[in-house]
Amino acid sequence: MTTTETASRPPTRRPKRNASVLFDVPGPRARRRNHILTVVFALVFLGVLALLIWALDQKHQLDGKLWTPFTKANVWQNYVWHGLWATLKATVVAAVLALVFGVVFGIARLSDHRWIRLPAGAVVEFFRAIPVLIMMFFALVGPPIIADAFGRAFDPLSGFEAVVVGLTLYNGSVLAEIIRAGINSVPSGQSEAGYSIGLRKSGVMLRILVPQGITAMMPAIVSQLVVLLKDSALGYIIAYEDLLNSGFYQVKSNYGNLIPAAIVVTAIYVAMNMALGYFANWLERRSRRSSRSAARSLGTGTGAPPAAGVGGSGVGLP
């Protein structure tokens, strides 16, 4: 696709009507039916909600006293903020390392030399095909034993380090695919033009492909950060004191307030991830409008083709 084609795409904004691909603009009868169904389903949902509240109340999970721990500053200080800080620390460190990993392996997979391209591809596909959790377990116990076999001593990794290693290897591999796809999404005419004005491979990459590819891949990269942030909760399993461990498990164990603790921690996770998600969507809208890049945006994930074998990058997956 060339720039002119991108520019001449019809505007996506349609006149504001209620027609969708499934439903025509409702007439008077359909409107009346929709109003009735609205009331019916509202009642059904309220009924389910009431049932849920009644069931929880029967088990004394909604008693006011269960919320009192969350009115104390020291609970927020020692458990919630403590855990949130640990989660953010692991997320940020892993995000930076994963970006470095992704850039190195993404560009290595685009190399003209087979002896660079194939090993890089094997590493990326290996880490994308196995669960993050088994990487974390292995990071926790593996290094000292491997070091021992080579006659060296090596202290076991801490929970924090194991979380970061697991998150970096998996998300770094996904980011490598995103970066590869982003650079491939720049039309070939761009690099041909670069070569024809006398740039070398590195010049074409750094001055032409990367700047335009970044616009296309930014939304996908931010979407992947949502995955990384959510996966940091796996740290709970390997006894890292993250938000899930300290804010939910420990609070619940110490104060016996399962439902309030779950609500508070879920709200924090959902708020952080939705903020990142909106940021990704905003970036995507912006990059679709942008005329500075000839590349088409990779999107934010929901519809992007991913996973080994399926082709594409695996952006923003569970």
């Binding site: 499934l22 169904l37 949902f45 088994i134 292995f138 116990v141 034993i145 996973a307």
Partner: protein, 230 residues
């Protein structure tokens, strides 16, 4: 310890039965979850594209809630909350109840992603297709069955495949809810025999790759075969 001991696979093959049982649980967990997640995803996607605002709102809340909550939290809530506190499936065999709680948590979580893939698929069908269907006099059901859904389903094969592969890998978290699938077996073996963690890890990594890679190539092949030329 020397290099030969480091990559000695003998202790792993002594426990092959245990490993295979673990992976068999993983396969069952994935298959059952796939079915429930598809059902949940389809229902919620139907809600999100319906003309009734309450249904749309409920669908949006569902997706935003479960898609943005860590799976570990959902499964932990299933184990600690539903079973230990509220007494759901608390009776009987611990690993059976752990299995079904894991199915519940994984289905609810994966369903949100299936819903978004289906909705994206419906949105790829151009409005003109539906308008053309209506203008030749097809009813709502006919245009849905003959024109819109066939195109939508074809374009979601690849995204759904990716969601299902991610779900297979996510079954590793099911140990939080008390299910004894492959990752739980691996953790147990790490604890029992810390000397041979390298071969154990490699065997389990290979096991997961045997599950995920062919699934990926199958969906990639199917998506290419069924692609809509547009």
């Amino acid at each position: 310890m020397n290099l030969n001991e480091l990559i000695d696979f003998a202790p792993v093959f002594d426990n092959l039965g245990q490993i295979l049982r673990g992976f068999w649980t993983t396969v069952q967990l994935s298959a059952v979850t796939a079915v429930f997640a598809m059902i949940i995803g389809t229902v919620v996607a139907g809600m999100r594209v319906s003309p009734i605002p309450v249904l749309r709102g409920a669908g949006t809340v569902y997706v935003n809630l479960f898609r943005n909550t860590p799976l570990t939290l959902i499964l932990l809530f299933c184990g600690l909350g539903l079973r230990d506190t509220l007494g759901i499936w608390a009776h009987g065999d611990a690993s059976t109840s752990g299995y079904w709680l894991a199915v519940l948590g994984l289905s609810v979580y994966t369903g949100a992603f299936i819903c978004e893939s289906l909705r994206a698929g419906i949105n790829t069908v151009p409005l003109g297709q539906a308008e053309a269907a209506r203008s030749i006099g097809l009813t709502f059901n006919q245009s849905l069955r003959l024109v819109v859904l066939p195109q939508a389903f074809r374009s979601v094969i690849a995204p759904i495949g990716s969601v299902l592969i991610a779900m297979i890998k996510n079954t590793s978290v099911a140990l939080v809810a008390g299910s004894s699938e492959a990752t739980a077996v691996m953790k147990q073996m790490f604890d029992d025999d810390s000397g041979s963690v390298v071969p154990i890890f490699l065997v389990f990594a290979a096991g997961y790759m045997i599950l995920t890679l062919p699934t990926g190539y199958f969906f990639g092949w199917l998506a290419k075969r069924k692609a809509v030329s547009r």
